[in-house]
């Protein structure tokens, strides 16, 4: 068992960092306080390194895991995108406090939130990473909650404006509601199969039918987790929360919980397995469920984004749509080993793409602020606010344009290749209709993305508007440029990235029933099997 601990090295590293940061944030020394971000970054780098060397397919430690190759990919990807997010998030909180401290006010640890903010951030990332390691429903539940709980607070504390509070309220309550749903689903799954261990459940299911309780459980679990990825029908909160939270936090929300949700879904759906029916694939019900969720998420997200004037709301809706795209990969499943046919790999790869381009777009927004009456300086939000940014701040403008065009799926940018993989996998998985829905949705999305790109790049600032100002946090600008650069540059090294995602998306393909006998300590397993048999007889 002890060798399984190495699976958690990255998380442990992150946890240590978290503790350090939490304490540092309370320090009286400004320098130490300020070092929170640096320490976090160092922690993330170490985590990424640890993640990169974590066990992969073939190692004993991951024997029997659903996706034995997933760890290195997920645990490198998450800290790295985390680094970008960190750079974007820095300077979000405590700015007023620090100003007053520098004016001579005595530092009061009670009022300082910096350390907590970074700690929450790291906790959340830890949760995301744990999702990748989880091979048990309990673990999965914990990991998901660990991802979510800190984000509730981050949203509420991200800004002093009322809208941040509102976002926090909505996020928290609806999040709890969603958590209850998937928790109930988990309970039913456990009830149906008598174990919380995912590989065991998978063995129990084999290629046979799931059973009614299990089916309801899976549906509730999937739908509940859909809250994390902001997919239909749990998408409602997304625009309000993204708009209300400060832009960096919105950017964070668009990645971390989504990554956690997708990893969790990967586990859940992977447990069911893509080997049902004549031609392989998910059981028809689950396939339909995911199909509907994917199609509706894309459509609802893209369609509602059309009407928006707030860039953040547009990006929020687009986040719903992107979840829909990624769900396509789950519907298809790993297919054959080939990268081009592997939907899960496509999903994981797209997650990376989305993380990068999404950070780019939000970082640009986070880098700009405007003067607004009583509120003083507030972040930019509407299209009008960012009109003509490219003329004033060419680099930021280009960063926005590149990120947005990448989100459109415009070749040769990163998003195109992500979408290409999703499409190839969907088509080779015989999900032609879904591929077409995806294609048409990409076109619809083009409409509002173009509005953003056009506003930043080609249009002039309206006469009556003041020019937007830069926020004093340099790192946000840097991260905008880095993301935009990555959107271009990663295309060059796309082959290894895709290979990595393919390895990660490759499920453990042991013939389940044979291995089942080898599996130790599964004595109570006979019963659920029998139970399922009898229920089948009854039905």
């Amino acid at each position: 068992m002890i060798e399984k601990l190495q699976l958690l090295h990255p998380e442990i590293a992150l946890f240590i960092t978290t503790c350090v940061v939490m304490i540092l944030g309370l320090s009286k020394s400004y320098t130490l306080r300020k070092s929170c971000a640096i320490v976090t970054a160092i922690g993330l780098v170490i985590t990424a390194w640890l993640g990169a060397i974590s066990p992969t397919a073939g190692d004993d430690a991951v024997r029997g895991a659903l996706f034995p190759g997933l760890l290195p990919y997920a645990k490198t990807l998450i800290p790295i995108v985390g680094l970008l997010l960190l750079a974007m998030l820095s300077g979000t909180v405590d700015r007023g406090l620090e100003q007053s401290v520098s004016r001579g006010k005595i530092f009061d640890p009670i009022r300082a939130t910096r350390g907590e903010f970074y700690a929450f951030f790291l906790f959340s990332l830890t949760g995301v990473m744990l999702c990748a390691t989880a091979d048990d429903l309990i673990w999965l539940f914990l990991a998901l909650e660990l991802t979510s709980l800190p984000t509730y607070i981050m949203v509420a504390m991200s800004s002093r404006r009322l809208r941040a509070s509102e976002a926090g309220v909505k996020y928290f309550f609806l999040g709890a509601f969603g958590a209850a749903i998937f928790l109930y689903g988990f309970a039913l799954i456990y009830g149906a199969f008598g174990t919380t261990n995912l590989p065991e459940i998978r063995v129990a299911i084999g290629a046979g039918p799931v059973g009614a309780v299990g089916m309801v459980g899976f549906v509730m679990a999937i739908v509940g987790i859909a809250f994390k990825i902001a997919a239909f029908p749990m998408h409602f909160y997304t625009p309000d929360v993204y708009q209300g939270a400060a832009s960096p936090v919105s950017g964070f929300l668009a990645f971390a919980p989504k990554a956690a949700g997708f990893l969790a879904l990967m586990m859940i759906v992977g447990t069911i397995g893509w080997s049902h029916g004549a031609g392989g694939g998910l059981p028809e019900e689950i396939r339909t469920l995911l199909w509907v969720m994917a199609a509706l998420s894309m459509t609802v997200g893209n369609v509602l984004a059309l009407l928006q004037t707030s860039v953040k709301r547009m990006l929020a809706y687009s986040s719903i749509a992107h979840s829909g795209y990624m769900l396509v990969g789950l519907v298809v499943g790993p297919g054959r080993s080939d990268i081009a046919n592997n939907g899960v790999a496509a999903m994981l790869f797209y997650l990376l793409c989305y993380g990068v381009m999404n950070v780019g777009a939000f970082a640009v927004l986070a880098s700009l602020q405007k003067r607004a009456g009583e509120d003083g300086l507030v972040e930019v939000d509407t299209l009008d606010d960012i009109r003509g940014v490219a003329r004033q701040y060419p680099w930021l403008g280009w960063a926005m344009v590149l990120s947005i065009f990448s989100m459109i799926g415009f070749p040769p940018l990163l998003g195109f290749w992500g979408k290409l993989m999703l499409l190839t996998s969907a088509i080779s998985g015989d999900e032609i209709a879904l591929a077409l829905v995806l294609a048409v949705n990409s076109a619809i999305a083009g409409w509002y993305y173009l509005r953003i790109a056009r506003a930043t790049w080609l249009e002039r600032r309206p006469e009556h508007m003041d020019a937007p100002l830069l926020t004093p946090v340099v790192s946000r600008r840097v991260v905008a440029l880095v993301s935009a650069g990555a959107v271009v540059a990663m295309v060059v090294v796309i082959a290894p990235l895709q290979r990595a995602s393919a390895r990660a998306g490759q499920p453990d393909a042991r013939p389940s029933l044979v291995e089942q006998i080898d599996e130790p300590d599964v004595s109570p397993e006979i019963e659920p099997v029998a139970m399922r048999d009898s229920s089948r007889d009854e039905g």
Partner: protein
């Protein structure tokens, strides 16, 4: 490994970067210079490094692995068709640059850089031997064009740009789905290996069953027919043309529309022969409707740019008609048509742009009889109109005649001169009425705008300086086009022979398909079954 094609793609990009980081005042000179260099280099390449006697095979090959996991290569190469269209692209480059010297006064760097980037992308489209690369370039052309229309167009430019972008983008996404489906099927027959190599795809794609081919064909047409544009998916074009700046219109008419016909030639025809054979008459009917319908619409347009835009719809109907005739005459004519339309319609847009620069109107109700004011302009206008009308001796005729002859012969097997094919005399007869229609609207246009009593916009006399005739710069943009129109009209024989090579392969392929379908009417060939069984085995064999 030949770096020539790569250099033709990269040169404009370097130029664009150069422009972006230099003074705005220099932008136009840099743009012109750079595109001239590219043009000259492309001519040298075409003359010195292309073996015209072997025009049917891919030459100047360049290949690098890009994304080996899904079989995407950075693979370039041209045959005569592609090379010809690349030459057209590089030719129109400097012409567009020079034509914009006085028209563009704002954000010049972006303008000229966009033109160069666009040129690189278009070159890439024609030079790609890899489907993914092709698609990437194909899509990428949208961005610079979007910028050109959106920033430098006239009043309604934003709507036009958005419509242009989204319409063609939607179409090409569906085409992408079709491509990927083909790719997937081919991967099944290719030992499970994905490949986007066009040659490989061409080799295997026609093994798809008839139903599959039909769907794939429609998907591909969704992308290419919009681009052509074929009736009834043409409505973005008049809007985009009307709003685009002159250079944009020239490129749009000159090259971008050809991406559609080139796509049909390169992909639809070889990938889905069975479906094409079945649906060619339907496509031809759409082309013919387009020819006549758009032609008649031209007649009642009062915006001269819109008129020419609709005429493009009408003209490209011939081009598609020639393609689906599926014989040498039709296809060679069609390829010639691509080039010729680019020359003559491009020139017409230039001329209209020059007029617009002087009068700030394009309405036939407001200007007229400009021959009295600008005789040189009038000369060119009449000249290119005649080229457009298809006057023998000028370029338009050769291609139009061959397209119609191709359609006529196609299937007219009762005579010595007939060939096998899906069309027949009636198609040519109806298409030929387009010849009358084109005479009606183009002469109507010339009669209004060039001839007749001089009429200038009412407010124009307020200006002290009356509009002058074309400057040397403007003439030098038109003269090369005029000369080419004449040369291609009088002595197209070498080109026709060169185009025969690439076309012959497709023709031969169709002969084979016809022969096969004559033998057995069972579309799922043995290969299909074998291929799929192989896959199933592999699925089970997974570790």
């Amino acid at each position: 490994m030949s770096l020539i094609l790569l250099s033709l793609m990269v040169l404009p990009l370097i130029g664009a970067a150069f422009i972006a980081f230099n003074k705005a005042e220099w932008a136009k000179w840099l743009g012109l210079g750079w595109s001239l260099i590219t043009f000259i280099w492309s001519v040298i390449a075409a003359l010195a490094f292309f073996d015209w006697s072997d025009s049917g095979s891919m030459q100047m090959i360049f290949r690098r692995e890009w994304i080996p996991s899904i079989g995407v290569d950075f693979s370039l190469g041209v045959d005569a068709v592609a090379l010809l269209l690349i030459l057209l692209t590089t030719l129109l480059g400097p012409i567009c640059m020079a034509a914009s010297f006085t028209a563009i006064n704002e954000r010049r760097r972006l303008f000229y850089a966009s033109l160069l980037v666009l040129q690189a992308a278009m070159t890439g489209v024609f030079a790609s031997r890899d489907l993914a690369l092709f698609y990437f370039c194909f899509e990428f052309t949208l961005a610079p064009m979007y910028v050109l229309i959106n920033l430098y167009g006239s009043t309604n430019r934003q709507a036009a740009a958005t419509k242009f972008f989204l319409y063609t983008f939607t179409g090409s996404l569906i085409a992408l789905a079709g491509f990927l489906y083909t790719g997937w099927k081919v991967s099944l027959w290719n030992g499970g290996l994905w490949s986007f190599d066009i040659a490989t795809l061409t080799e295997y794609a026609s093994r798809m069953s008839a139903t599959e081919q039909t769907w794939v064909m429609f998907a591909l047409l969704a992308g290419f027919a919009v681009k052509v544009p074929l009736f009834p998916v043409h409505t973005w074009l008049p809007l985009a043309h009307t709003e685009a700046p002159t250079a944009g219109s020239v490129i749009l008419a000159g090259v971008l529309l050809k991406l559609g016909t080139y796509g049909i030639f390169r992909f639809v025809l070889p990938f889905t022969p069975v479906a094409v054979l079945q649906y060619a008459p339907a496509i031809a009917i759409l082309s013919i409707i387009g020819i006549i319908y758009a032609g008649l619409i031209c007649w009642v347009q009062r915006d001269v740019k819109k008129l020419v835009a609709y005429s493009s719809v009408s003209h490209l109907g011939f081009c598609v008609l020639g393609l689906v005739a599926l014989n040498s005459a039709g296809m060679v004519g069609s390829v010639m048509y691509m080039v010729n339309h680019g020359l003559s319609t491009g020139a017409l847009f230039l001329l209209i742009g020059f007029m617009y620069e002087r009068y700030h109107t394009r309405s036939l109700n407001e200007v007229g009889g400009l021959a009295s004011r600008m005789p040189i302009w009038a000369f060119f206008m009449v000249f290119f109109t005649l080229a457009s009308v298809g006057l023998p001796g000028l370029n338009g005729f050769v291609s139009e005649f061959l397209c119609m002859l191709g359609a006529y012969q196609s299937g007219a097997t009762w005579g010595v001169g007939g060939t096998a094919g899906p069309l027949g005399p009636w198609f040519a007869v109806f298409a030929a009425t387009g010849v009358i229609v084109s005479a009606i609207y183009l002469l109507f246009m010339v009669g209004r705008i060039v001839f007749g009593p001089l009429q200038e916009p009412a407010d124009h006399h307020a200006h002290e300086v009356l509009p002058t005739d074309l400057s040397v710069r403007e003439i030098s943009t038109l003269a090369p086009l005029a000369i080419l129109c004449l040369v291609l009209g009088v002595y197209p024989a070498p080109l026709l022979i060169a185009l025969e090579g690439p076309v012959a392969e497709t023709v031969a392929m169709y002969d084979e398909v016809r022969a096969n379908s004559a033998i057995a009417e069972a579309p799922p060939t043995v290969d299909t079954i074998e291929g799929e069984s192989v896959v199933l085995l592999e699925r089970e064999d997974l570790p």
